[in-house]
């Protein structure tokens, strides 16, 4: 198998006495959708924050495409091709939907001291932005102010902004959070379409979605990896059942 796109080695992070990451290791293979699951407080968000550079690990290393990025600051990681969608949507609400995505594209095209040329007509910005909006099905709402969209569409717009940066690895932090069943189903469809094109690390509570989408699943408990494998392997893993999936899932599965 080729070299993994993301390699996490023995990552450790303590908050006071709590081990949020405990010698955590995992590998994300190119082209796969890799899901991370675990009960509340398992350290999933801490892991994502260390991957994006918002938190710095106490020990361990993160390698992205062969390069050690453990000490690389957040904004540079985003320039390297690591894009993140936020768990809590953080959009430019009073700007248009298109402007939101334009800014995400613009962030990756060098400095913005261009004072004269119309950015909204600049094909270098507009084409990738419109392509990203098309991906998530928001083309027709491009000119509306972002505050007009509903919660589900806000999440889609978040995803479009992450995609617009042309990432090599997409980190999705609970993209279905707060969504109704219909919106969740739409998001699952979209992620299925994205699969294979871009490597995805998905942190998600919605088990149905995770087992439907993931090529590989890593289970975290108290900051430690207790199992990694295909959905079938994880379903069959006794330790996982005991720690996490519980009786309910076991009987269904």
């Amino acid at each position: 198998m080729a070299e993994p796109l993301l390699q996490v080695d023995n990552l450790s992070k303590n908050f006071g006495g709590i081990r949020a990451s405990d010698a955590l290791s995992l590998e994300v293979v190119r082209g796969e959708l890799h899901a991370v699951i675990g009960p509340n407080g398992a350290g999933k968000t801490t892991l994502i924050s260390q991957l994006t550079g918002l938190l710095h690990p106490d020990a361990g290393a993160i390698r992205f495409d062969g390069q050690d990025i453990t000490q690389v600051p957040a904004y540079q990681r985003s320039l390297l091709g690591l894009a993140r969608s936020f768990q809590i949507t953080s959009l430019f609400l009073d700007l248009s939907v298109l402007d939101n995505v334009l800014l995400a594209v613009q962030a990756h095209q060098g400095h913005s001291f261009h004072f004269w040329k119309n950015a909204r007509r600049d094909r270098d910005l507009r084409d990738p932005a419109m392509a990203a909006l098309k991906r998530v099905g928001l083309t027709e709402r491009a000119m509306q102010p972002a505050f007009r969209l509903n919660h589900g569409d806000h999440r889609q717009l978040e995803l479009a902004m992450a995609l617009a940066a042309n990432p090599r690895l997409l980190l999705l932090d609970e993209p279905m959070a707060g969504m109704g069943p219909e919106q969740s189903a739409r998001m699952v469809e979209m992620l299925r379409a994205l699969k294979g094109e871009v490597t995805i690390l998905l942190v998600e509570h919605d088990m149905e979605a995770v087992f439907a989408l993931a090529d590989r699943i890593t289970v975290l408990v108290y900051g430690r990896v207790i199992a990694t494998g295909t959905p079938q392997e994880i379903r069959a893993n006794a330790q996982v059942r005991e720690a996490y999936l519980g009786e309910q899932e076991a009987t269904h599965g």
């Binding site: 957040a74 904004y75 540079q76 985003s78 320039l79 953080s90 959009l91 430019f92 609400l93 009073d94 700007l95 402007d99 334009l102 800014l103 995400a104 613009q106 962030a107 990756h108 913005s112 001291f113 261009h114 004072f115 004269w116 040329k117 119309n118 950015a119 909204r120 600049d122 910005l125 902004m161 940066a165």
Partner: protein, 315 residues
């Protein structure tokens, strides 16, 4: 929707036509007062356009923009007093001084947030006010009378009222065009993104501080230009030009006209100065009438006059 849109276009076209034809009207009727009033309106509209760039597009509530009026005005006044009458020398120096002052105020104030951001430009403006009051050589409190308006080697004669009016109008329209280009550029998009959600902007890799600072400097320089014109218009400059209430007037114009709208500051300046004229004929205490009117605008017409003209498009 289309009709509403046209209403706005019609109002803008009418206003611009009126501004362009005004000298014709005054020469036919001999109404010199109208020309004086409108020159003033045009100059203050330019100041409001400059403030709108920082306040409306950049979200920087500068409660000290009148300082730039003073710096532009005093640069012209002092140079003229010292025997430098050429506009080709006066104006670049005045603009440079405004830009430098904006750079200093912006660099300090943009490190702070919220009410502190408002206080720092205000403090600097008041400081400039008191420094000007203390300049005994240049008239101190009483101000400084310009011996001559800026001269442009015979190209334009600012002492001719009609020529000066057109000069001001051309600069106003030029600055509106400049703001239009700026706000639609990548730079403008970055500035508006920073206004909308600064944290997110930094998270996706924008060093927002430098874009906001650049925006503030451009805004301050444009306001300095308005100061140059104001001093030339009245042949006089005094500390009162940068008193804090004057900064307040500029904010009122921007809010009244519509923050972050291209023609809003022009609407605001025309409306405010007209109201001032009209209401002060009714009563000496015209501000008592103006206050509630502004309150209504803030409460019921968030987008100001421009927002009302756009009408149904938003609501």
């Amino acid at each position: 929707m289309i009709r509403k849109l046209n209403l706005r276009a019609v109002v803008i076209a009418t206003l611009l036509a009126a501004l362009l034809l005004l000298p014709l009207y005054t020469s036919l009727t001999g109404d010199r007062f109208a020309l004086t009033l409108f020159t003033r309106i045009v100059i203050l509209a330019l100041a409001a356009v400059s403030l709108n760039l920082a306040l409306g597009y950049g979200g920087m509530v500068s409660f000290g923009h009148a300082a730039f009026l003073g710096i532009g005005g005093y640069a012209v006044g002092i140079l003229s007093y010292e025997g430098v009458g050429s506009g080709f020398v006066q104006w670049p120096i005045a603009l440079g001084a405004s830009a430098l002052f904006a750079l200093v105020i912006g660099a300090l104030s943009l490190r702070t947030r919220g009410v502190y951001f408002i206080m720092i430009p205000l403090a600097f403006a008041q400081m400039a006010y008191y420094i000007a009051s203390g300049l005994a050589r240049y008239g101190g409190d009483d101000g400084l009378t310009l011996q001559n308006r800026s001269s442009f080697a015979g190209l334009i004669n600012p002492s001719n009222k009609v020529q000066f009016y057109y000069l001001c109008l051309a600069l106003l329209l030029g600055s509106i065009y400049l703001v239009w280009r700026l706000t639609n550029s990548r730079f403008g998009l970055a500035v508006q993104g920073a206004r909308s959600n600064d944290t997110r902007m930094r998270a996706i890799g924008f060093p927002t501080y430098r874009y906001k600072l650049a925006c503030f400097v451009i805004s301050g320089t444009l306001c300095g230009l308005a100061g140059i014109l104001l001093a030339n218009n009245t042949d006089f400059v005094s500390p009162a030009i940068m008193f804090w209430t004057r900064s307040g007037d500029l904010i009122v114009m921007v809010v009244l006209g519509g923050m972050g709208s291209l023609f809003g500051p022009l609407f605001g300046a025309v409306a405010l100065l007209f109201l001032e004229e009209a209401l002060s004929r009714i009563t000496e205490y015209w501000q008592i009438l103006l206050g509630p009117l502004l309150l209504l605008v803030v409460l019921f017409a968030r987008g100001g006059i421009d927002g009302l003209l756009k009408g149904a498009r938003r609501g």
